[in-house]
Symmetry: C2
Subunit: 343 residues, 2 copies
C-alpha cells in the first residue's frame, strides 16, 4: 500500500488509469461499470486507499445515503437494543445510519429533527417521545423528510408506523395470570409519557371485562423517564398504605416492574409465582434486564427483530417510491409471553 496522499477523485482517477466520471460512476454503483474497469479501480483502491469526500458528494445530491435513527431515550436498553438492530440493517443496505437520542426532552427532539433536515437524509426512523412530542413540529418534519415512525405511534404522522400490538401484550399476560388463578391489578404511571401505556390500560380493562373480572387501576405519581425510580416510589407508597387492591400486579412496563420489585424487596415482601409468595408481578416489554431481576420477570416480549426489520424494509420501500407511499400502514407485531419467576 503506497502511502501517497490523494487529494481528490481526479488524482485517483489518473492513478488508476480511468477517467474521473467513470470513477464517480463506480462509487455511486460499482455494478454500473464494466468488470474490467471495476477491477482496475479496485486494484488502485487497494494501493492508494482513497475515499471520496463525503461533503462534496452530498452537496450535489438532493438526497444522501444517510438514515437518521431517533429514539426517545437511549439510556433505556430497550431502545439501545432496537437501535442496534436498526443500525445493522441500514449499514447492510449500504446506508449510513446516524443515531440520536431525545433524552426525554421535547426541545431536544425538535432540535434533532431540525438538524436532521439539513443532513438531507434519504430517510428517517423515528420513535417519538410520545405525549411530550411537539406534534406539529414532527408533522412538518415528516412532510419534508421520508419518515417511518416506530415504537410509539402518532396518528396520521409519518409514512407508516411499525410497532408492537399492545393488546397482544396485555391479553396474553392477563389471560395467563387469570388462568393460573391470579387476578391482576394494573400498575401504571398516572400520566404516562408514552401512548403505548394508554393502549395497554385499555387492553387491560377490556380483557378484564371479557373475563368477567373486576379491574383495578393503580396509578402512581411521577414524571420523566426514570421509570424504575418512579415505580419504586409508587410501589413503596402503595405497599406502605396497604392499598394494593389485589395480590397480583401487572405493570404497564418492565421498567416500572423493576422498581416495583425493588420496593418489595426493601419492604421484605416476597414476590414470585408460587402461592406462598405475598405478591405476584408480571409486566410487558421483555426489557434486556428483566431476566436478571429477582425474581426474574414474567413478561410479554417484543419481537425486536420483526419490528426492526419491518421498519427498515418499509423505509427502503418508501425511499424507492420517492418519499410517498400509497397508504399509511400501521403494522403491529404480536407479543410472546415469557414465563419466568415473578408470576
Amino acid at each position: 500500500m503506497s502511502h501517497q496522499k490523494i487529494r481528490n477523485m481526479e488524482e485517483f482517477a489518473t492513478l488508476s488509469g480511468i477517467s474521473r466520471p467513470t470513477v464517480s460512476k463506480y462509487f455511486n454503483d460499482p455494478e454500473s461499470v464494466r468488470p474490467s474497469t471495476r477491477d482496475r479501480i479496485e486494484t488502485a483502491l487497494k494501493e492508494f486507499d482513497y475515499r471520496p469526500n463525503i461533503y462534496a458528494i452530498n452537496q450535489n445530491r438532493r438526497l444522501t445515503k444517510n438514515i437518521g435513527i431517533v429514539v426517545p431515550y437511549l439510556a433505556d436498553p430497550f431502545f439501545a437494543e432496537i437501535a442496534r438492530v436498526l443500525e445493522r440493517r441500514c449499514i447492510a443496505a449500504g446506508f449510513t445510519p446516524s443515531l440520536f437520542s431525545s433524552h426525554g426532552e421535547q426541545g431536544l427532539e425538535s432540535a434533532i429533527l431540525d438538524n436532521l433536515r439539513s443532513l438531507k437524509p434519504a430517510g428517517v426512523l423515528l420513535a417519538p417521545l410520545g405525549r411530550a412530542s411537539d406534534r406539529k413540529h414532527i408533522e412538518d418534519f415528516c412532510r419534508d423528510v421520508p419518515t417511518i415512525l416506530f415504537d410509539s405511534n402518532i396518528e396520521g404522522v409519518g409514512a407508516a408506523f411499525v410497532g408492537s400490538d399492545n393488546f397482544s401484550f396485555v391479553s396474553q399476560t392477563v389471560e395467563y395470570l387469570s388462568r393460573t388463578g391470579k387476578v391482576p391489578c394494573f400498575f401504571e404511571m398516572k400520566d404516562p409519557a408514552n401512548p403505548n401505556a394508554n393502549k395497554r390500560r385499555h387492553a387491560y380493562l377490556e380483557m378484564m371485562r371479557r373475563l368477567n373480572l373486576e379491574s383495578h387501576l393503580v396509578k402512581i405519581d411521577g414524571v420523566g423517564w426514570g421509570f424504575e425510580e418512579i415505580g419504586r416510589q409508587g410501589a413503596l407508597k402503595i405497599l406502605r398504605e396497604g392499598s394494593l387492591p389485589t395480590n397480583t400486579v401487572l405493570c404497564s412496563n418492565d421498567r416500572l416492574a423493576i422498581g416495583f420489585l425493588s420496593a418489595c424487596h426493601e419492604l421484605g415482601i416476597s414476590v414470585g409465582r408460587d402461592e406462598e409468595c405475598a405478591i405476584h408481578v408480571a409486566s410487558h416489554d421483555d426489557h434486556p434486564y428483566s431476566r436478571f431481576t429477582c425474581p426474574s420477570l414474567t413478561t410479554a416480549a417484543h419481537d425486536y427483530e420483526a419490528v426492526a426489520d419491518h421498519a427498515v424494509e418499509t423505509l427502503f420501500q418508501l425511499i424507492e417510491a420517492g418519499g410517498k407511499l400509497e397508504t399509511r400502514e400501521e403494522t403491529l407485531f404480536a407479543a410472546r409471553l415469557i414465563m419466568r419467576g415473578s408470576a
Copy 2:
C-alpha cells in the same frame, strides 16, 4: 414567518440586505459582525428560516465542527449515560456530536473510525473496546485525528486519557468490606475484555496484601459483552459446586454482580449486608440499575460528570492547540463508595 424557500446564502443575503461574505462571517461567528448587522441578519433569519448547507460548509473547512463520540457498547446503560453527558457538553460548546457504538465488535470499531476520518471531525472522544481493539488501527487513527481516550486506556495512544481510578474503586470497597468484618473474594471474568478489569484485580490483590488478608480470585468463563448472563452462569456454577471461597463476593463490575444476584435468588441463597445473610455482595461502577437490584448493590460510583467534563475540556484544549498537546496526560477520578443493601 414567510414560507418562501431560500436556496442559498446568496439569496438569503439579498433578502436580509447584507452581503454574502458578511452573512458567511456571521454564521461562522455571530460576534464577529457589528451588532446592527447581527440584528438585521437575525431578523431576516426569523422571517425566512434559512440554514446554511452543512455539506458546502464542511467541504471548505479543513476541520468541521463535528465531534465523534465512540463507545464500545451502547446497550450498556453506563455508556449510554456517559454518552448523554458528553453530547450535552459538545452541543453547549457549539459542536455537533455524533454517537457511535462498536457493539462489542472489533470490525465495527475499526469501521467507525474509518468513517469518522472522512467526517473530518474537529475531535473524537473514544472509549475503545479494550483488549478486543485493533490497537494499530486506533493508533493510526489517533495520529490523524485529535482524539481523547476515555473509560478504557490504551497506553500511549491518543492525546490524553480520562477515566476512573480503578485502585480508588477497589480500595474503598475492599476496605469497607474488611472493616465490617467481611473478607471478600474477587469475582471476575477469566478473560476480561476491558483493561480496567485487570487494574481492578491488581488493586484487589494489593489491598488484600496490605490488609494482611488471604486473597481469592474467582474466575468465570464467558466471552462478549453480555456480562449479566456471564455473571449469572458463572455464579450458578460456582454456587452449585459450593466452591465459593468466602461468603463475601466483590464483583469486578456491577453487571457481573447483577448476574450474581440473579443466580443467588434462583438458588434461594439470601444476599445482603446483615450477618444472617448467606452471602454479601459488593461491586464497582454504580451502574444505573444497581440501586434497583434486590438487594440494592453496594458499589463504588464513577464520577460520571467529572470524567465527562474533563474529557470534553481536554478535547477542547486539544482542538484549540491544533491537535497536539505537550504531554499525554492520564487523568483518573476517584470513586465514591455507595453503601446499599447487598453488603
